[in-house]
Every structure is written in C-alpha cells, then in structure tokens.
Assembly symmetry: C2
Homo-oligomer: 133 residues x 2
C-alpha cells in the first residue's frame, strides 16, 4: 500500500524509454532532468517513475524537432516551479507553430512523392505489360 515510486537504475530507464544509458547521462549533463537525478549507494543514479514520465515528454519534444537548448529552457522553467506558466506557454507555442509548419511542408513534399510514385507505377506497369520494349 505504501508503494511509492519504485526506483529504477539507469539501465532499466534506458530499456523503458528507448534512450541509451549514454544519452541519459548526456541529458542530465545538459540540464534536461527537471530534478537532479538522485544517487544511490556507490554514487549510482536512481530514477523515479516521474523521471521516466518526464523523459517520455522530452522524447516527444525532441522527436518533433525541439532543439536541446529550448528543451533545457523549458526544463529550467519547470524546475523553478509555479509562477512562470506564461513563459512555458510561450515556449510551447513557438514549438507548436514550428511543428505545424513542418507538418504542412512534409505534407507538400509527400504530395509530390506520391505523384512521382504514381508516374513510375504507370511506366513500370506499361513496360511490364509490353515485353516488346
């Protein structure tokens, strides 16, 4: 019943998040953990489920192209606690417009790619049906 957060090793977190242990240490150095990672006996990192949750958010922000400096800024704001929600919002909105634009551009690219694939499908279907060529 007193099941608090179960304390994970860096290896377990790596497995759960898909990040490498190298990347986890790297993120910590870069100031991407919203609370400093606790250390167990022997100086080993001890992660909580909250850390894992935070990391999955980071992974999504990174996957959508947020650069590390921006992610660090956001982390810093969260670390400072309540009161700077407007700044966090601003940061997120900036990223939001970037992602939206990127999505639109990718869509346009895909349109062209789809078109080209169609063209080549026609050509290939034709030459396959016409062995004389």
């Amino acid at each position: 019943m007193t099941e608090v957060t179960p304390n994970l090793s860096i290896g377990q977190v790596a497995e759960r998040t898909g990040l490498s242990v190298h990347a986890l240490r790297f993120y910590e150095r870069e100031g991407i953990m919203f609370s400093p990672v606790r250390r167990g006996p022997g100086g080993r990192r001890v992660y909580s489920e909250d850390d894992v949750e935070w990391l999955t958010l980071c992974i999504i922000l990174r996957a959508s192209g947020m650069p590390l400096p921006a992610l660090r800024q956001y982390t810093e704001l969260v670390r400072q606690g309540e009161g700077n929600e407007d700044e966090r919002l601003e940061l997120l909105r900036l990223h939001q417009t970037r992602v939206t634009a990127q999505l639109a551009e990718l869509g346009r690219c895909l349109d062209l790619i789809n078109f080209k694939v169609g063209v080549y499908e026609d050509i290939v279907a034709h030459t396959a049906a016409d062995p004389a060529r």
Copy 2:
C-alpha cells in the same frame, strides 16, 4: 524563337533555388546533378533550366529527409536513362513510406503539444483572471 534554355551562372541558380553557391558545388561533387554541369569559358559552371528543375526536385526530397546517398543513387539511375524505372520506383516508394511514417509521428507529437498548450492556456487565463494569486 530559338529561345533554348537560357544558361545561368551559379550565382543565379543559387538565387533561384535558395541553395548557396557552396551547396551547389557541394551537390555536384556529391554526384547529385543528373548531367555533369557544363562549363563555360574560364571553367565556369553553366546551368540550364533543366538543372534548376532537377535541383528543385532534389530540394523537396532533401526537405522530406532523403539522405544524400539515396539522392545520389536516384540521380545515378536517372542519369543512366530509361530502363531502370522499377529501381527508381523502389527507391521512391521506400522514401514514401518513411515520409508517411514521419508525418504520422509528427502528427502524434503535435497532438500532445496542442494538448499541453491548452493546459497552460487554461492555467494562464486563470491566474490572469485572479490577481490574488
């Protein structure tokens, strides 16, 4: 009336495509021009409108994340001329599925970002309407 393709300098092509002159030379070295760029007097590059068209296709493929080696392969196939349309198709299809997947993932990321923006909008609206806090 005998207006063939108007022969562009590297600077003009840079301006038209948005690529830098450095990038244009780099692409050429990398084998990304489907025909070797012609040279005018003094060894200067002379581009045709066809080259510009080819480059705009390359730009779109690059913008959608096709790596240079793949682009070089595709270039090579086009350079070889007719008869390898099935290989070109295969290459394009591979890229197509990658872009489609990337588009889907970006969409999922954006969903989360939109959600978070919404959450912070609520918070900010609340604290703004409640100066006691």
